[in-house]
């Protein structure tokens, strides 16, 4: 059974991290980040061509992480592969001992560095979850029997800061129906709004981990406000970052504060350090985890 699954079931407050593979095959830095997170987080997500930027694959990187003793969460999008390749990659993941799978639709092609690539989206996050569940039950999407069925711990995402919020909740309900067993959210910076969101989805009775993105600068916060759907960094935090002399320390302080404020109404946090993995342990310390 996956450690992540066990931890969420136990009712403990769970922490996951995230690792972005390199654009190339120089994996040393990635492995160093893994070492920093090992023992501090229950598992670490590996992104899948995040923002449609071509990188080393999540499947290979998850395997490398697992070899290093860090439990991976295999992020899988629907942008680049059809149903045949997706089902195959799910089987491959299981064969490599990877159990946690985060099922995503995926950022559109034009957001990345290969804007002329043909977008696939043969499946979406909901049908991807269904496909994984079907494989677990010993059949593929063509209703053919499998020689050996995989077993996954399936996750999905949701954007608590989406405006409007109702469509996200409709979609979240579908994801749960399709088989999502846990959720990691897009970055949260407003605890009150997040609490409202958690109240609204309480009826779905599924573990939710709040997303935390470490702020690197006021500029980064403004950039996200402008460009990343559903992420809203309030002016007060932007001001704090601007006024801070030591951005790194302020970043840790803000993240820890957010975690303390969110802790009461979610099952864990998912920390996206975006290259600042060194800061994750001090954030956890400061948050009292």
């Amino acid at each position: 059974m996956s450690k992540l699954s066990e931890a969420l079931q136990s009712g403990k407050f769970v922490v996951t991290g995230e690792i972005g593979p390199p654009k190339g095959v120089a994996i040393q830095e990635m492995l160093e980040s893994a070492e920093l997170l090992k023992g501090k987080v229950v598992a670490a997500n590996v992104t899948d061509q995040q923002s449609a930027v071509m990188r080393l694959g999540s499947l290979a990187a998850c395997h490398l992480l697992k070899e290093k003793g860090l439990e991976p969460v295999f992020q899988m999008t629907c942008r680049d592969r059809n149903r045949i390749a997706i089902q195959s990659d799910l089987l491959s993941a299981y064969a490599l001992g990877i159990e946690n799978v985060l099922c995503l639709t995926g950022d559109y092609v034009t957001l990345g560095d290969h804007p002329q690539a043909k977008p696939v989206f043969d499946l979406d996050s909901v049908s991807l979850l269904e496909a994984a569940v079907q494989l677990q039950q010993g059949k593929d999407l063509a209703e053919k029997e499998l020689q050996g069925s995989p077993r996954f711990f399936l996750g999905a995402t949701v954007t608590p800061g989406a405006s409007p919020l109702e469509p996200q909740i409709i979609k979240m309900e579908k994801k749960v129906k399709a088989g999502a067993q846990f959720f990691q959210t897009q970055a949260v910076y407003e605890p009150e709004k997040f609490e409202e969101f958690m109240q609204a989805v309480k009826y779905l009775d599924v573990p939710v981990m709040a997303g935390i993105i470490l702020l690197k600068s006021a500029g980064m916060a403004r950039f996200m406000n402008k460009n990343v759907a559903g992420v809203h960094v309030p002016d007060s935090l932007i001001e704090e970052m601007e006024k801070a002399e030591k951005k790194g320390e302020k970043s840790i302080e803000i993240a820890a504060r957010l975690i303390r404020e969110l802790k009461g109404f979610c099952h864990g946090v998912h920390i996206m350090a975006l290259g600042w993995e060194k800061k994750v342990p001090p954030v956890l310390d400061a948050a009292g985890l």
Binding site: Y108, T110, F121, S127, L141, A162, I170, E173
Partner: protein, 214 residues
């Protein structure tokens, strides 16, 4: 309506390199409506080509170009002009170009790029609404097609990139799923979205470029 755009004139001249005489074909339907291959545009092209040193042996506006028998009839009427030309410059959608080829057996050059199946919002403003997917599900989508109007073609949307009713790909694109939800809510049919929509049957769809449909 099939929406087309004119290719850059330099590209067309490139096609005609080494050729002297050309016969121009336009279309009375879509190409006329979107002003890329109607009589006015054909005459403009004639003038440009002559200025560039080509000889235009004649022209015809077919009604429509994609009707192969109609094209044959039209070319018969202008037999000499068509025969004496080195090639046909066809200012119509891709189907019209191929129909002209089949009807004349001559060398054909496309003057347009065929871009999408569009609705006319107002004069000169077109919007893609249908992808010819062959499996219309507008009934459960409140009359708004997500395959065409959602950038990702999602059957179970929206995605996490939907912000204030706009698409993450381009803020000028409305989020189709936002529109679908609003419309179904208005109709009191939001429960139609409860059912998970199964992955598309691409084999039965034209847009995936699979077996030619007849």
């Amino acid at each position: 309506m099939i929406i087309s755009e004119q290719k850059p004139f330099e590209e067309i001249l490139g096609f005609l390199e080494g050729e002297e005489k050309v016969f121009i074909v336009g279309c009375e339907l879509c190409a006329t409506l979107c002003q890329t291959g109607g009589e006015e545009q054909v005459k403009e092209m004639e003038a440009k080509l002559e200025e560039a040193g080509k000889t235009v042996t004649g022209w015809i506006i077919l009604n429509p170009a994609c009707h192969i028998l109609e094209a044959k009839r039209g070319f018969r009427e202008k037999k000499e002009a068509v025969n004496s030309a080195d090639s046909l410059l066809v200012m119509t959608c891709g189907t019209g170009v191929q129909s002209a080829m089949e009807a004349s057996n001559k060398l054909v050059h496309p003057a347009l790029n065929t871009v999408f199946l569009g609705a006319i919002k107002r004069f000169g403003q077109y919007e893609e609404r249908c992808s010819l997917c062959g499996e219309c599900l507008l009934d459960i989508m409140g009359g708004i097609c997500p395959i065409t109007r959602c950038s990702k073609g999602l059957l179970n949307g929206p995605c996490g990139g939907s912000q204030d009713g706009k698409c993450e790909v381009d803020p000028s694109i409305p989020c189709a799923w936002q529109s679908i939800i609003e419309r179904l809510t208005k109709l009191g049919q939001l429960d139609r979205l409860e059912k998970i929509v199964a992955p598309k049957k691409w084999k039965d769809s034209l847009i995936a470029g699979l077996p030619v449909r007849r």
